[in-house]
């Protein structure tokens, strides 16, 4: 059996492609796998795993594994992760054999259903046991898919995080920012899949192309491990003489980074630059300077690489992860819809008497912080955004005359909000 072989010699010869196996787990995972351009991942083995035979038949993956028991009669898990989990445990040996020989295992799955949420954690464990590094790329379901799927997805995510070396997670809800009213279902899923594929491609390049400043796979894993469930990522490219500037502009405008706000809120950022032979130090410097200016609190890991095919183009991948800031996140998500609404209402009521900053005792520490600092307020809001669609922080402080005008933002502070409120000066 192969052991983990991230040996020094490999780092010195980074052009050598490590043995990578890419698993698509569950129907969504298999779809995502199909959507990826196989030509770009030279040397990688694509493996589709599902309980449902029909989805496997349609897949173009080179290896297909159907986890089958008599219980299921070839019909899949029926959206129950417990079943998916049980089957995977039963067929653990099969999974382990499939992982054999790989140094790095990518797991691509859509969480929320039975197979994706149930099998992925087991697969990650199997990969670990064969000595490979396991990195998972998963999507969380759309909010409209319902609470149960959301919960299952979060559970699956937690399990996955416990076993995998790293999890990069895309909440599908975020793709709403990329689409308009008229986008069809099909296109929406394609966009979400495309984003995930893009990030896989970005990570893939991180350690397959010769790196001038090499990012170790371990660096990446350390970055995404133990962080909040949402790591934001973005890949952008630009060409021409002004590419470094253009790249930064595109990054800051990227919807998945919340127009750059995700950068400000993250506490660890991985930046990978890739250019042709003409990549200059000035380019790298300019991009890094801009990015580090936007994420002052973050630990930044940076890598630069040269790909001869990328003539005159600059390709930047950014993965921003933030620490788990909301310990109350899980109970809030697990609770049914009504209590969370009530909570919203009670927050609204609690906040109303605060106009004079005479803080009512019912405010929790977090709410107090929200009131006192614009920055932390937006961070708290972000942390919740995956769970419920709340608009409360906007309602707490009305901007009066400037309600409808373009906000004046300076270093994350909304200057339209009265100064005395932002500084927490009491009037008494």
């Amino acid at each position: 059996m192969k052991t983990k072989t991230q040996t020094p010699s490999e780092v010195l010869k980074p052009a050598k492609v490590p043995a990578v196996k890419i698993f698509g787990v569950g129907s969504a995972g298999v779809h995502l796998l199909d959507a990826m351009d196989k030509g770009e991942f030279t040397g990688a083995v694509f493996i589709a795993i599902n309980t449902d035979s029909s989805s496997l038949e349609a897949s173009s993956a080179s290896v297909k594994i159907q986890l089958e028991t008599k219980l299921l009669r070839g019909l899949g898990t029926g959206g129950d992760p417990e079943r998916g989990h049980a089957i995977a445990e039963e067929q653990f040996a099969t999974l382990k054999t499939a992982c054999e020989g790989a140094e790095v295992v990518f797991i691509v799955a859509g969480l929320g259903g039975g197979a994706g949420s149930g099998i992925s954690p087991v697969l990650a464990r199997a990969a670990k046991e064969t000595g490979a590094l396991a990195l998972a790329f998963v999507t969380l379901p759309f909010t409209c898919e319902g609470n149960r799927r959301q919960q299952q997805a979060l559970q699956g995510l937690d399990q996955l995080k416990a076993v995998a070396d790293g999890v990069i997670c895309l909440p599908c809800q975020k793709t709403f920012k990329l689409i308009d009213e008229n986008t069809s279902m099909l296109d929406t899923f394609r966009i979400a899949g495309g984003l995930l594929a893009e990030s896989i491609w970005g990570v893939w390049r991180l350690f397959t192309r010769p790196g001038l400043i090499h990012i170790h796979f371990d660096d990446l894993c350390a970055l995404v491990r133990d962080r909040h469930s949402e790591s934001a990522f973005a890949s952008v490219e630009a060409s021409g003489p002004a590419r470094s500037r253009e790249v930064v502009e595109k990054l800051l405008a990227h919807p998945l980074l919340d127009e750059g706000r995700a950068l400000a809120e993250s506490n660890a950022v991985l930046v990978s630059l890739m250019g042709g032979k003409d990549l200059t130090m000035a380019d790298v410097n300019r991009v890094m300077e801009q990015i580090s200016r936007h994420c002052e609190q973050a630990q930044i890991i940076m890598g630069a690489a040269v790909d001869e095919t990328l003539k005159n183009r600059l390709f930047v991948t950014v993965i921003a992860a933030k620490q788990n800031v909301a310990p109350a996140r899980l109970p809030a998500a697990a609770a049914p819809e009504e209590p969370s609404e009530q909570e919203e209402i009670s927050r609204g009521l609690g906040a109303r008497p605060v106009r004079d900053i005479a803080q009512s005792p019912s405010l929790t520490m977090g709410q107090r912080e929200q009131l006192l600092s614009g920055q932390s307020r937006s961070r708290a809001r972000k942390a919740r955004s995956g769970m419920l669609q709340t608009q409360l922080p906007l309602a707490i402080i009305s901007k009066g005359r400037f309600d409808k005008s373009e906000p004046t933002i300076h270093k994350g502070e909304d200057l339209d909000i009265p100064t005395y409120l932002r500084r927490g000066v009491p009037l008494n």
Binding site: R355, K399, F402, E406, T408, P418, T419, Y420, L427
Partner: protein
């Protein structure tokens, strides 16, 4: 009849008022302010037009008033622009002198300035001003006018003020809709500084902060040239809004309270002092604590100054301002504002006074008309230059608004 070429009109479409200032240029070049028209502005927020119909009406009223007062017909205006989208930065251009005798010609100067202006702006932005600072001949610093000098390499530093084209066009279109010609657009901060500063002060280094209703524009001179400009989209409107929010009164009432009782400093006697708000019938509505009012005002103004100081420190200019700081704009009327600003800016702060301009006393003494007067002064420099008059010490002759050509 008057000679139309002598009449210069500055038009500022501000957040609190639209204001037209009519100036007359005498044969000796001195300026005389002969008319002033203003109207309450309703279609502008943070220095930018949000309701063109309202704004157009207000501008028309201001122009009509100014026409009546000065007894002239206004055809052309110099238009002041501002807004949070406007930025300034310094850039350098290089040009090799190719002529055989190595003498720098006027064409070389044109070329080097053109090079300096060829900057990487975002697509949607346009240059408002490109102001020459210094020339360098073969790396030698501090050449004011290189024409006729010998050298092989000519460089120039320019200060470029640029803004979003569409937003600038909004104001220009509005004025054109009133059958007026826009001679040029001028950044409000630049206009104010022209009205306030003497050449000596520019040489020593000075900061002008124009705190209007919607925006705070600031501009830094050092060594006789413009070194830095900036706009903060905060102003007196924010003070009123803060008051309306903090004292729980309507915005119009907050505005009135600000004018009657506002002060930049908290003094002991105002603590606990109250004023009663009455409705139009004289019945008491509520009581407002003056201490709170002043604290809210003071904090907001303090923050504005802090933001300006922070920006200057980033630009590394805080040590060059030996002539001090000059305030103008409506907010400069706030009592004790200079005393509030001094410890923050750590420089002598005074209210700006227009100089070397004669005319209406009522217009010249008001801090809120200084931008309008500055626009007229900008226009007078322009016309003098066009007539081939004496060269401009102010170094604004490079100012070009190519945006006009596009429209």
């Amino acid at each position: 009849m008057f000679d139309a070429s002598n009449i210069i009109v500055g038009l500022e479409i501000g957040t609190s008022k639209a204001c037209a200032v009519v100036g007359e240029q005498n044969a000796d070049g001195s300026l005389n302010i002969i008319g002033l028209g203003q109207a309450r502005s309703r279609g502008v927020r943070k220095g930018e037009i949000v309701d063109p119909t309202q704004a157009e009406e207000d501008v028309r009223n201001a122009i009509v008033e100014a026409e009546q007062m000065a007894d002239v017909e206004i055809r052309n205006v110099y238009l002041g622009v501002t807004g949070g989208h406007i930025r300034g930065f310094n850039n350098r251009g290089v040009h090799p002198v190719v002529s055989a005798d190595r003498e720098i010609s006027e064409d070389d100067v044109q070329d080097v300035v053109k090079n300096a202006k060829a900057i990487n702006l975002p697509m949607e932005n346009n240059i408002v001003h490109a102001i020459r600072q210094h020339f360098f001949v073969d790396g030698r610093d501090g050449v004011a006018n290189p024409v006729g000098m010998l050298g092989s390499r000519l460089e120039v530093d320019v200060h470029v003020v640029h803004g979003n084209t569409n937003r600038l066009q909004n104001a220009i279109r509005l004025v054109k809709g009133l059958q007026l010609e826009v001679d040029d657009i001028v950044f409000n901060g630049l206009a104010s500084s022209l009205a306030l500063l003497t050449n000596e002060q520019k040489e020593l280094g000075a900061l002008v902060i124009d705190i209007g209703a919607g925006t705070t524009d600031y501009i830094v001179y050092a060594g006789g040239v413009i070194q830095h400009t900036g706009v903060l989209a905060i102003g007196g409107d924010h003070v009123s809004n803060d008051l309306a929010y903090g004292l729980k009164v309507p915005l119009s009432r907050a505005e009135k309270l600000k004018l009657e009782h506002g002060s930049a400093l908290m003094d002991e006697e105002s603590k606990g002092q109250t004023v009663r708000i009455t409705n139009e019938l004289g019945l008491p509505l509520k009581t407002v604590n003056v201490g709170h009012l002043r604290q809210i005002v003071s904090l907001r103004l303090e923050e504005i100054f802090q933001l300006v100081v922070h920006n200057l420190e980033q630009a590394g200019l805080s040590d060059y301002l030996r002539a001090g700081v000059f305030l103008c704009g409506g907010c400069a009327r706030t009592p004790h504002i200079a005393r509030l600003a001094e410890p923050i800016l750590q420089m002598p702060v005074s209210l700006g006074q227009t100089n070397s301009i004669s005319g209406l006393k009522s217009a010249l003494d008001q801090p809120e008309f200084i931008t309008g007067i500055g626009l007229v002064k900008f226009g007078s420099f322009k016309t003098r230059k066009r007539e081939g008059g004496p060269s401009l010490a102010q170094g604004i002759k490079g100012a070009i608004a190519n945006i006009l050509r596009r429209s």
